[in-house]
Symmetry: C2
Subunit: 211 residues, 2 copies
DNA sequence: TAGATTGTTAATCGATTAACAATC
DNA sequence: TAGATTGTTAATCGATTAACAATC
């Protein structure tokens, strides 16, 4: 009997919106929130909310609902957002800048510690608190930085696979890939493809469907 | 007998990467590409590629593969990317700016025609070729602009639902929602939630799984 | 207590994968 | 021709939804 893979990607995708809602409720001094209430606000079914919470090991009290404080700490633990993760960002274009300056990520345990680019005009310039590093120095600086995550926001002309292979060799554990290029890595490295055009394709299909 | 809903969201999500690959192959004077080749490059199974193409009405030739020129025009038609779509963008922060300046969206039929913000310091300033408009003028300017899509890149403190309801009332057909707030709209309006933290949650889960 | 809500098992639905005939 | 590849039907797998007992 083999161990189940237990993907539940859709469940993980929904978790941040549950967390956000629980934080709002908690800030409003609401101690409990029911699955029905959450479902109504997020446009989901209450069954799905309860099932998701069950998968995350979150329990509630019949007739009262879920304790907002428990939801917040429970979801953060479930997503490992209670553990700090060091990240480097490569490709400081407009999108890279937006992500680097999005200080809310800190709340999710994501700490961006360095920015890299290959453009001589950008290297040395400041973005927020960071001075942009030369990508040719990546290998040299990696061991001091010790990042577990690399955020790739390069232009699509770059050789993203070569860069990804180097990062894997250096010991990166996760790659948040905003480029259009798909990358192939070993089984011990996680890759999430966040190319914005995928979402736009789904939106277009949905618009067509609804006329 | 009711008509099938025919969601196939995962198929639509994969389409842009097929298109990108076909464009690259075509640019390299490669007239045909096989499903096996595409699968290898994208890290998918060839069965899935063939199934996706079948759903999109794309046909190939046994032993040769799919004509790259046909893939390009076929996928663009399937995604309605051959039809121009006018869009307004609301919330000109770092992410909004990055999307407004990302000129590649033009190739997908997305034409951003106006930017709005509520920050007095930003209104009137230029971003690329656009002068930022006052959000209070949205209703007044809408009928001249005639957008079908609204891109929401506001900060999460804003009342996104109120804004979305106004947009729907004015006749918007699709909302590309980058905020953390989920929005509820009628059945004739498409919403795609593109909150970046969902993807980060999946990446964290996958990293944990792979240790 | 009565009734609302949780938690879980079973049923359904949709997407992926397997198998294989058709074909250039 | 032989073999690689397409296209499709059937089987499997996983996620969603339904049903309902447990419970505060």
């Amino acid at each position: 009997m083999s161990v189940s893979k237990l993907e539940c990607t859709p469940t993980y995708e929904r978790m941040p919106s549950y967390l956000h809602l629980a934080e709002e409720a908690f800030a409003n001094k609401q101690n409990y929130i029911s699955g029905t209430e959450i479902a109504d606000i997020l446009g989901l079914s209450s069954i799905q909310v309860r099932k998701d919470f069950s998968l995350a090991g979150l329990t509630g009290i019949p007739k009262r609902g879920y304790k907002t404080a428990d939801l917040i700490s429970g979801i953060r633990t479930f997503l490992t957002w209670d553990i700090g993760k060091r990240a480097i960002l490569i490709g400081v274009g407009n999108l890279g800048k937006a992500i680097a300056l999005h200080d809310e990520f800190k709340n999710y345990g994501l700490e961006i510690i360095a920015l890299f680019d290959n453009n001589k005009k950008k290297i040395g310039k400041k973005v927020g608190q960071f001075k942009i590093d030369d990508i040719s120095q990546l290998q040299k600086k990696f061991s001091k930085l010790r990042p577990s995550i690399a955020i790739l926001t390069l232009s699509y002309q770059a050789d993203v696979q070569e860069l990804a292979s180097l990062l894997v060799e250096l010991g990166i554990q996760g790659i948040w890939n905003f480029t259009k290029k798909k990358i192939i890595v070993g089984n011990d490295v996680a890759v999430y493809n966040a190319d914005l055009t995928s979402g736009f394709a789904v939106l277009c299909a949905d618009m067509q469907r609804r006329q």
